[in-house]
């Protein structure tokens, strides 16, 4: 169905090609998962399938890409719209209208389908993706999961034979991701569609994949059985890592398969004690009581209480739209607060001047790039030192500790997601705040980048900082948090040690916990330590 014949892609001015010598064939009706580190060319490969690369990105593509019998060199993306559907990373950025139905109908209008066909397909798609209750709502008011499903639906109505999805779940909370993936699963099974998915959060997607395509940086791609391929790749979900540790071969990719093999491992671990989260030792740095945030008539945060001590890493979890970001901004003091009190080391940050505020509490926003505006990493670092009154080189030193080897003259736009996040984190750390807030930092990070971030955050807490991380990423939270606070509908519904909160609900449970339940282990690293000790 999709055939790459010796395809190489090189962007103008790049040192080396993004893809080189890709030769592969994805048969009809397969759900193929594309994995690789950031910058390995996942998006490029996906977009080459319908010709968006190189027609919209520039660069040179050599070799041939043939999809459903049509070569992309002869057919521009618009002439492939009837066979290939494409859903980009940010669904909102791809919407052309503001109503669900019109969005779904757009591609059919372009194809010139008769109205009766359009009406029936829109109804079918609304049913298939569970969008009937929101069909009349403006797109901007939908939740992230609903928007993502509309974007998928908008590609589906053309009845394409191939569907391309670029990180369909990375912005979603665990529940919404489940919804989207369940819909995808149905498409593959009921309609025999060929689906190509690029995704970083493999723990969510790997179990649905029929095949995995691994793009090693620089080497030829590897296509094959999910367990086998992920076993070799540096990016693999925790369940595969656990399998490697326990010596299960081939590694299972779903929790269900892993549980069947896990009985001996559970027996070995029966007497070991999972590492308990370190009790908070320090004094309380951040104390918030009854915080309210209001946007117009809606209360985004109802009444949130939170106390974070020195040396503690608190994870803030909850659905999309549960008020996590609003709470973080209100805690930092830059966001408006409608009620309640916040004290950072005894002072309400909202009463301080911005420049004093950031010396007490730093915030890394969801879009780290919003904070950057200069044309080189070096200039950003120098500017950061200047505006914080820190000694020259402070920011650079933080950056080197977080992500070594970022060249000074590189433009911030050209950094990888992980490097850009490190730069923004360094900027936030330059004025030496004791409290640090991070909003959804793991978006777009691969597993190695995530562990580096977790290490960096652990070092900060060890140095006496208090850190609050808002995140959907259960694996990341399990790896680095000491306490978890769950927000729902603007209120704190759970607050406790990470072990208790995440094992209490399957939505927040990491894969290792699911495999080893009822034992309470959260991470592969913890299991590895225990096995060594045994």
């Amino acid at each position: 169905m999709i055939r790459f014949e010796d395809v190489s892609v090189r962007y103008d001015g790049a040192e080396r090609p993004v893809l080189s010598g890709v030769d592969l064939h994805v048969p009809e009706g397969e759900l193929c998962l594309v994995v690789g580190s950031t910058g390995a060319g996942k998006s490029t490969l996906l977009r080459a399938v319908n010709g968006l690369v190189p027609r919209f990105t520039g660069g040179t593509l050599s070799g041939r890409v043939v999809v459903a019998g049509r070569a992309t060199e002869d057919f521009p993306p618009r002439e492939l719209a009837d066979v290939v559907g494409y859903v980009g990373q940010d669904p909102l950025a791809g919407f052309v209208s503001d109503s669900v139905e019109e969005e779904l109908a757009y591609v059919m209008e372009s194809l010139g389908l008769p109205e009766s066909v359009m009406r029936t397909r829109v109804e079918e798609t609304l049913d298939l993706l569970g969008l009937v209750p929101v069909r009349d709502q403006p797109l901007s008011t939908l939740s992230g999961g609903q928007q993502q499903r509309v974007a998928i639906g908008a590609a589906l109505t053309a009845h394409p034979r191939v569907l391309l999805l670029d990180e369909p779940t990375s912005a979603l909370d665990p529940g919404a991701a489940e919804e989207v993936l369940a819909a995808l699963h149905r498409l593959v099974h009921d309609l025999g569609m060929t689906v190509l998915v690029a995704e970083h959060r493999l723990e969510r997607v790997a179990q649905y994949a029929d095949q995995v395509l691994w793009l090693p940086t620089g080497g030829p791609p590897v296509l094959g059985d999910p367990g086998e391929v992920l076993g070799q790749a540096p990016v693999a979900p925790p369940v595969v890592r656990l399998a490697q540790l326990a010596g299960w071969s081939p590694p299972p990719v779903s929790v269900r398969d892993a549980r069947r093999l896990a009985a001996p491992l559970r027996a070995r671990l029966a007497d070991a004690v999972p590492p308990a989260p370190r009790p908070s030792r320090g004094d309380v740095l951040l104390r918030a009581a009854g915080v309210q945030v209001r946007y117009g008539a809606t209360l985004a945060v109802r009444a949130a209480d939170l106390a974070v001590s020195s040396g503690e890493l608190v994870a803030l979890m909850g659905r999309n739209g549960s008020g996590k970001s609003s709470l973080l901004w209100a805690l930092q003091g830059t966001g408006r607060r409608a009620g309640g009190t916040v004290a950072v080391e005894g002072v309400d940050p909202a009463t301080l001047r911005p420049v004093d505020r950031r010396e007490r509490v730093g915030l890394v926003p969801q879009q780290p790039a919003d904070l950057l505006y200069l044309h080189s990493v070096g200039a950003e670092c120098a500017q950061s030192d200047a505006e914080s009154g820190a000694a020259p080189g402070t920011c650079r030193a933080h950056l080197d500790a977080l992500a070594p080897g970022v060249p000074d003259e590189r433009h911030p736009r050209d950094l990888s997601e992980g490097q850009r996040l490190a730069l923004v984190l360094a900027v936030a750390l330059t004025p030496a705040p004791r409290v640090l807030l991070l909003d959804e930092p793991t978006r777009g990070l691969d597993y190695p980048a995530k562990s580096r971030l977790a290490d960096a955050l652990r070092r900060l807490t060890a140095a006496g900082h208090a850190v609050v991380v808002a995140s959907h990423d259960v694996e990341f939270v399990a790896e680095c948090a000491s306490r978890v606070v769950v927000l729902a509908d603007g209120e704190v519904v759970a607050d406790g040690p990470v072990l208790d909160v995440v094992t209490a609900s399957p939505v927040f449970a990491p894969q290792v916990a699911k495999v080893l339940a009822p034992l309470r282990w959260l991470t592969v690293a913890a299991v590895a330590d225990a096995l060594e000790a045994v």
Binding site: A81, M108, S110, E115, R119, W329, V355
Partner: protein, 357 residues
Amino acid sequence: MAETRRDLHPGAWWVWALCLAVVAGRTTNPLLLLLVIGVASRVAVSCRTPGPWGAALRMFLVMGLAVLGIRLVFHLLLGGVGGPTVLFTLPEIPLPQWAASIRLGGPVSAEGVVQALSFGLQLATMLCCVGAANAVADPRRLLRSLPAALYEISVAVVVGLTLAPQLAASARAVRRARALRGEPVRGRAAIRSLLVPVLEEAFERSLQLAATMDARGYGRSGDVSPGHRRLTSALVLAGLLGLAVGGYGLLDATAPAVLGLPVLLAGALLSVAALRLSARRVTRSRYRRPRWDPASVAVALSGAVGAVVVLAVQALGTADAGALVLSTVPLKAPALPVVPALAVLVGLAPLALARAR
């Protein structure tokens, strides 16, 4: 509140609202103007669309109030129509010889104030009608029902309308993020530090949008010759121009009569011809194309009744014709012109017509 039918032709709503605006353009009688505002707002409140445009009426009413205020202030400052009933006298600022025809300050008469207010109210009423049209018929849906020959333009405008609020949101996010870096930078540096991320994001967004639109088949070439396409585009533009000029001629009582109905009709004819021509281009279709069903026609007619009656009353010079114009010299309490008022009230009919069946 019963649900409003969303499949009424947006053009019907715009005809309804513009006809009410025609009534407003033909009278300075505050009673009749207030009646028009009442009818337009009542219908707009009941039948508005759920999207962000549904709130348009309020915005337009605020704009109307501003117009009223500006009109009054200008009258007080610059004078204008004088009259025997002097309310008070502002200190007059002497101006040099070459500006002798302009007077700053001076006596303010009741007649002048009333006239300024009634003209202001007239403009505010027209704004209210446009606001009502925006609230009940999303202007984007109207754009979407443009003939296929204008498809590319209409999509560009629709996308622009969609992106504008997103741009504003990204500007807000960047400004908020900037506060995280301490004191806001001033001067040229501030412009750069705000504009660079916003523009970069806007640029990136538009590239993304262009890519997804292309992937969704936007601009698939049909088998239509460029000459044919140019002809239909020219016809449609001429037709729309005719409709606009004709509408203006009808609204403005002082415009020459030939600019009114004749140009409007010519514009309509050209538009129909263009529609016919472009219908041959079948490479693209429309989902839920709004249709001129009986209910839509009735909505349009219900607004038209008022306009037709007012125009007829003026043309025939019946007893109500005098009451359409507010008498300021001498100052008299306005009388309600009964027949035009009843005709305007017909404009409430959409309340019943637009109920979901």
